[in-house]
């Protein structure tokens, strides 16, 4: 692998390059140090030169695909562009964040290249050939996975598994490429985006998540959790029971058949802590549980617990946080 390039494909939104993409940049840097490879970035779009420049401050080389047909994300055009560049440059590793988009085009790219894909990795070990760690069986076990004769090796990393820090110290080159793509390459077109989380951030990017369970007793009571989330600048989540009862849409569900999250702070309100829920949040840095039932399993994994009625605790907690922020 030594001397070859290792690429991160950077995802962005209206608000700029995504946090998960910066984490992927960090992962690529770390891998490069260990494997003696050259880190580089790839970005695809139209009129996003400023993002390419931002990346060039972190990595030595940025491949920037620019074309009007890339102004909206599409798996087919992404695969087409990347396939030809990979065939030409022969990188050792391709890495992207395991976001909904990453999960969309990366497996297609891997199939097109006939290369191995290890998705949703949480870390790697570089001794004795590089191997990757990922959760299996809904977080109940961790698997170590290796590539066997795959060139390149393709990896996606789970958001929030790598810390990121922008240095801004590199003065990398930007190679602008105008790809040969056509309208007829596009099989799926985005018509509209419906945001369900309002002004709050998505679960996968939030530093703080305030989550409610059956103990919330009804949809109307989630206002309370929204208020707590807002004073903390966080997102709102829910257990399966809440979603199955129709109190919140599935987008909010955390756990084995919902989203897997790993925030700095997870506040579980009225959640008993079924194994399927714990599978979705037990890698949070700090877990707080508020529940009336002292025997709720959530207390077994919580860093801090308050055994009390959440409808009494949360309003006081909101006031205390507001007070502490003033000091």
């Amino acid at each position: 692998m030594s001397g070859k390039e290792i690429w991160v494909i950077a995802e962005y939104g209206e608000e700029g390059i995504k946090k998960s993409a910066w984490e992927a940049v960090s992962a690529v840097r770390l891998l490069s140090e260990n494997l003696k490879t050259e880190p580089a970035a790839v970005i695809l779009g139209n009129g996003i030169g400023r993002f390419a420049e931002e990346l060039s401050k972190e990595l030595n080389r940025v491949y920037f695909f620019e074309h009007p047909l890339l102004s909206k994300y599409n798996a087919n055009t992404y695969v087409r562009c990347l396939y030809y560049l990979i065939k030409e440059k022969n990188p050792a590793i391709i890495l992207a964040a395991a976001t909904f988009r990453g999960k969309d085009y990366i497996p297609r790219l891997s199939a097109r290249l006939d290369c191995g894909l290890i998705s949703d990795c949480i870390g790697f070990e570089a001794d004795n050939g590089v191997s990757f760690k990922r959760y299996v069986y809904g977080g109940r076990l961790i698997a170590t996975v290796k590539f066997e004769e795959s060139e390149p090796c393709i990896i996606t990393i789970r958001p929030r598994s790598f810390a990121y820090k922008k240095t801004g110290t590199v003065n990398g080159e930007i190679l602008r490429i105008v790809p040969n793509i056509e309208q007829q390459d596009i099989m799926v077109t985005i018509q509209e985006i419906i945001k369900e989380t309002g002004k709050r951030s998505d679960l996968s990017e939030a530093d703080v998540i305030v989550s409610g369970g059956r103990g919330m007793k009804g949809a109307e009571n989630f206002k309370l959790l929204e208020e707590l989330a807002d004073v903390l600048g966080g997102a709102v989540g829910a257990s399966r029971a809440v979603v199955d009862a129709g109190w919140l849409p599935h987008t909010f569900q955390i756990g084995q058949t919902g989203r897997v999250v790993s925030p700095m702070l997870y506040i579980a309100c009225g959640i008993s802590g079924a194994p399927q829920h714990l599978a979705g949040m037990s890698t949070s840095k700090c877990i707080v549980a508020i529940n009336k039932d002292p025997n709720a399993p959530i207390f077994k994994i919580a860093d801090y617990g308050i055994v009390d009625d959440l409808f009494k605790v949360v309003p006081v907690l909101i006031e205390e946080i507001k007070k502490s922020k003033k000091n």
Binding site: A111, T144, F147, E148, E149, S204, P249, C286, D308
Partner: protein, 254 residues
């Protein structure tokens, strides 16, 4: 309309799993196996499409003989044909091999719509549907929560999940759709369906001579580190809330 559904058997999500010695495998004796929950939504959507547009449903699984149970359940629900690709002779198969073989089998059967779960709850690579679509060079829409098919225009409009919400997308048919929770509410099998399923012979395919090699391999399984049990903040409000905030502030979490 030719509808294909890909299903997989997985260990019941509610049970504790044991690693078999120091092998990279789990103990599979005496554990309950179920259909992958996301595949149930795929199967239900197939039944609804058939009810609306007519056609037939072929359900395919890649697995050992035990996996016939989930296929029988699909017959009971209304599948027209079920097929098991026998994997007893394939020791190491990764998603790429699985998808290649599935794509080959699906191509031979013929297809308008292919439905899969958005991921399996065992390994959770979330890749099979997308890879099948690439091998067949057709559309793929991931993690759908709503599907409106227009066979006349050979297109479909669906809602797919993204971070923070949904995308409304239009795609050409044929296509692969991977089912997310929220797409529908799966039905139960009828008694007559269950009786019929008992008598149905399950077709088996032997893929061992096809010679595809896996590109990734699991070398080890381990248990995740256990979280330390934390502390219960004793006392009454507002002291408990105040102490919690103090602790969180000290830890620089708020």
């Amino acid at each position: 309309m030719k509808i294909i559904v890909c299903v997989k058997e997985v260990p019941d999500t509610a049970i504790a799993l044991k690693i078999k010695g120091d092998s990279p495998e789990i103990e599979t004796e005496n554990i309950p196996w179920v259909i992958n929950p996301y595949d149930e939504y795929a199967m239900e959507e197939a039944l609804r499409l058939k009810e609306k547009f007519g056609g037939d449903i072929t359900v395919i699984t890649f697995g050992q003989k035990r996996a016939e149970n989930i296929l029988r359940n699909c017959i009971a629900l209304g599948a027209d044909r079920v097929l098991r690709i026998n994997d007893e002779s394939i020791k190491n198969r990764d998603g790429l091999v699985t998808s290649k073989i599935l794509a080959k089998v699906i191509k031979d059967i013929g297809y308008d719509i292919i439905l899969c779960g958005k991921e399996s709850v065992d390994y959770g690579y979330a890749q099979t549907g997308q890879m099948i679509a690439e091998f067949l060079q057709i559309s793929c829409v991931l993690a759908i929560k709503k599907l409106d098919v227009s066979p006349l225009n050979k297109e479909a409009i669906c809602h797919r999940e993204i971070e923070g919400g949904l995308e409304v997308v239009k795609c050409n048919l044929p296509a692969v759709f991977t089912a997310q929770k929220g797409l529908n509410t799966p039905r139960y099998a009828s008694l007559s369906g269950i009786m019929k399923a008992k008598k149905t012979k399950i077709e088996t395919l032997e893929p061992d001579a096809w010679g595809f090699k896996p590109k990734i391999r699991i070398t080890n399984l381990s248990y995740p580190p256990k979280r330390q049990e934390g502390k219960i903040i004793k006392g009454t409000l507002p002291d408990t809330a105040e102490e919690l905030v103090k602790n969180l502030k000290e830890a620089r979490l708020i």
